[in-house]
Subunit: 557 residues, 2 copies
């Protein structure tokens, strides 16, 4: 018998403390450096990945009716030729329902202990995961190791800590005695039992499959719900690796591995709707487009639905002390992961008259130039560019860029054109540098939607308050996951924070000298649930507390 | 400035402790006895109630466009002739939205302190409330004082304690520092803010208007959401009294009274749908029929929806040591409040061969006789009958009784007919004693719905396990709020508890010598949310944690 809860209890305790106090903490190693890991582990991870290519992924699940999978590496533009089980969902669901009772009755500590072990085992395969993420999601190696590795695991642990806290809020038993006057008296022994809702489906996105994948898995599984992972057809392998590891941990602990399963598909033969609309699907976690997310929120009313979609993340630039630092920070966001992150900046609002920099006026043009120059600066070293930008997850993004370039030129001005950059290692990599356009607020219909990929707008407003008004209105009506304000004016900064918060958006102020896209597990409440960019926060109590219910029994003593 | 949070902090602390350990506790006085309250307060309460009759209820709210109200006393069958403001909802909502910011920004302790004061003030008007509840909901005086008074207030305090706990789980600030290696370093000061969802609508039921009214009000208001109370057209006055008191407390604390408002209506001109479908309605708490509840759950997808509806509460009788005690306990449930409680028993499953009582077989007939005899016993003293049964909330129930009597006679056997009982004080009272029918499981379509009023079935099953199977299937498919098992057989008792819990229903075992309908605040998780009798538990963390969201701001230091 395993003792994983005890073994990992320090990790859980530290996560609970970090969630409570929200300081910077990580349970996992973020750097892939061989100074930390030695040379063997990175090499072995890469070899393991390479050995998967061209083969059937080793996953034995009930209901297999063939194989599926058509992933293409954004680095080589060659098919990975990894196949996954194609699944008859009804057969799978039957098997999952057979697995459920044992898991439901295993108790909080057993489930949480196994979840902690799953995260630990996943942390041992971060090199494999990094290569799998690179060659599906298109992230750079470093980003794939950190953002889709350690950072994503931290978010899973964060969700697990909240799930544990919410479940432990329910005592196991109670002793209840009272008199009812003339109606008698009672002494009751009460027992409270955590009950899962049922089968939980986690629909992952293409660019950061495990970023919300781990939190969804942990939140549902810890509270007793079996989880079906539904990866995006472009990015199955990282999810499959996780599912395999979780199933092994379940088996080692003596549980049915079908508590965690994978349903892979292709764009041509999608399986998502069948899962979402299945009458036995009780919980849905969705990461993806706002349109589909909204559809799920409105139509999948039988299930508990948690969504993170996207918005048009904005910057309002009012004034600053160091324009180069500010432009560098914003430009970093425009480049990082080719702006395919949920936290990437798209809309940069700048007053028509320009901004004050250390009491000197810099014109709107000057700001645009500083931004473009900062982007060029991030791109000038090809190795750094590759590390920062990674590749495009799908070919479609080229079409988006082309369309917006054309339309942007008609309706505004091209500040910087997008083009491929030369990847030092993969000559065929699907790359694109930032497309930057200058427009006025009249083009709101163009920029107030999420344009997926390295596309951004410098938007000329009236004064800074007018810029703020436009940006916060977009956040409120079209969603925002991150928002930034740069201002050396204390009063404006206060107004801006209030305005964003009132628009249901979280806001970051004057961030420079760090990757401003970074969302910190245990500290940032990621997604507010108050604007169209999603209905859930990953993670807060609301993300976990309704994944289980409580039934009780009371017996007269 | 008030110091209500400090003043009532002991009450809050004790409620938090009671919720955690779930022992028996009450913050309010359950008995209306003049030994406790003296003679003046009861008399003054009654006089206050009588002075309201025939008058416009003193409530000044924005958007008044006339008067409404057509309550009829179930005791006198005379109109109360109390009128309430008829409201233009759009005008009211505008005023509420103006009230929201001050409340949102007041902070947790201020809001919770005012909520505690509201409960305290409501506890000071329990005599008025008791008479208002009698003459609208039809409850007996004692039940109106306790069940709709102290017990309901306790549930409000319970919800408030959970809301406080959930909000305090979010720290106000955090200090966050980390290095990003080559990408820089950061020191961020973070601030987290609790944000309400918006306007909350609480739709109350006719029979126990404040039973879920207080919890809904407290859960939403404490978390920053203004609350519109929507009473049932038959039972406005108790809700109006509460609203008036809450508005006074808000005013005394310097807040806009429109944070708590009343929208009254009549059956002919209902206002509920306009409230539910209003685009600014963000939260709905509904207590009422399963059909309407299900409709709201499916259609009001823009709002957070919490429902408590109804089920066909069952008893499974396998064996016992004291049949008279068991029959007495069950009969108490059939009589209490004329079985108009959400916890009233409707379906009594008894094996065809009868049951063992102290190793002696008592036939199915014998059990039926014991039950009927126990009911007669509860009714034989008119004063006790009146105290126990109260009156029927609406005239409709007579038609239900008539229909079921006719159909029951055709499809089964009349064990005990329903008829009026003579109320010692109100000669015109709308009364009905229990209608009891014996049927087999073939009549499932008849008994597997909630039949509102004093109607019950003794259902002949196969053996005890067959009875259990039928009862738990009904709980699962048609809902159950309470379920009872009587058995002296340890193994059966265990099986029965497991079966009910697996059906998503809580279960009570061998309860005798106490009112078995009693649901204890701070101890019983009322409604599981796992069967069709409602989607929410009143109260657990899930009931409160999603009524607010979190927005943050982070500033680089």
């Amino acid at each position: 018998m395993h003792h994983w809860f005890e073994q990992h209890s320090d990790t859980l305790d530290r996560a609970l403390d970090a969630c409570q106090k929200r300081y910077a903490w990580s349970a996992y190693t973020e750097s892939p450096s061989s100074k930390i890991h030695g040379k063997e582990r990175p090499a072995a991870g890469k070899a393991n990945f390479q050995n998967m290519l061209g083969n059937a992924f080793p996953l034995e699940q009930p209901g297999q009716i063939g194989v599926t999978g058509e992933e293409i590496s954004p680095y080589t533009r060659e098919p990975l030729e990894v196949t996954y089980p194609k699944i008859d969902i009804n057969v799978l669901y039957q098997a999952i329902e057979e697995a459920l009772p044992g898991w439901r009755d295993a108790g909080i500590e057993t489930r949480v202990g196994i979840c902690l072990e799953m995260l630990h085992r996943c942390s041992e395969q971060l090199f494999e995961n990094a290569h799998a993420t690179m060659h599906t999601s298109g992230q750079s190696y470093i980003m794939a190791f950190a953002g889709s590795g350690a950072n994503a695991l931290d978010r899973g642990l964060e969700a697990l800590a909240y799930a544990y806290k919410a479940m432990k809020d329910v005592p196991a038993t109670a002793d209840w005695r009272r008199s009812f006057g003339g109606d008698g008296a009672a002494h009751l022994q009460k027992t409270y039992k955590i009950m899962p809702r049922g089968i939980s489906v986690a629909v992952c996105c293409a660019t950061f499959p495990l970023w919300n994948g781990y939190p969804a898995l942990m939140a549902s599984l810890a509270t007793g719900n079996p989880v079906v992972m539904k990866p995006h057809p472009s990015a199955i392998l990282p999810v499959a690796l996780m599912v395999k590891t979780c199933r092994e941990a379940l088996l080692d602990a003596g549980f049915d591995p079908n508590l965690v399963t994978l349903v892979a598909d292709t764009r041509a033969q999608p399986a998502t709707l069948d899962l979402l609309q299945h009458p036995r699907t009780a919980i849905v976690d969705f990461t993806g487009s706002p349109t589909f997310g909204r559809w799920i929120e409105t139509n999948c009313t039988r299930a508990q639905v948690y969504t993170e979609t996207a918005g048009c993340n904005s910057v309002v630039l009012e004034s600053c002390n160091d324009l180069q630092a500010v432009a560098g920070a914003i430009a970093h966001s425009l480049c990082q992961a080719s702006a395919q992150m949920c936290t990437s900046v798209q809309n940069i609002h700048v007053p028509a008259e320009g901004i004050l920099v250390q009491d000197e006026k810099v014109s709107f043009e000057g700001v645009c130039e500083a931004l473009v120059s900062a982007v060029e600066d991030h791109l000038k070293d090809p190795a750094k560019a590759a590390f920062l930008c990674g590749t495009l997850v799908t070919e479609d993004i080229y079409q988006t860029i082309e369309g917006i370039r054309r339309e942007g030129r008609e309706r505004g001005r091209l500040l910087r054109d997008s083009g491929p950059y030369d990847h030092p290692e993969f000559t065929n990599a699907r790359t694109a540098t930032p497309l930057m356009l200058a427009v006025t607020q009249k083009e709101r219909d163009l920029y107030s939607q999420e344009l997926f990929g390295p596309i951004s707008f410098v938007i000329k407003g009236g004064d800074a308050d007018d810029c703020l008004k436009a940006a916060t209105r977009d956040a409120c009506e079209h969603g925002a996951i991150t928002s930034h304000v740069y201002s050396a004016n204390t009063e404006f900064l206060q107004r801006a924070q209030d305005a964003y918060n009132l628009a249901g958006a979280s806001v970051a102020c004057n961030l420079v000298g760090m990757p401003i896209n970074f969302a910190a597990a245990y500290s940032d409440f990621h997604v507010s649930g108050l604007n169209p960019a999603g209905n859930a926060c990953l993670t807060d109590l609301a993300f976990v507390a309704n994944r289980f219910r409580i039934v009780q029994r009371k017996v007269m003593v």
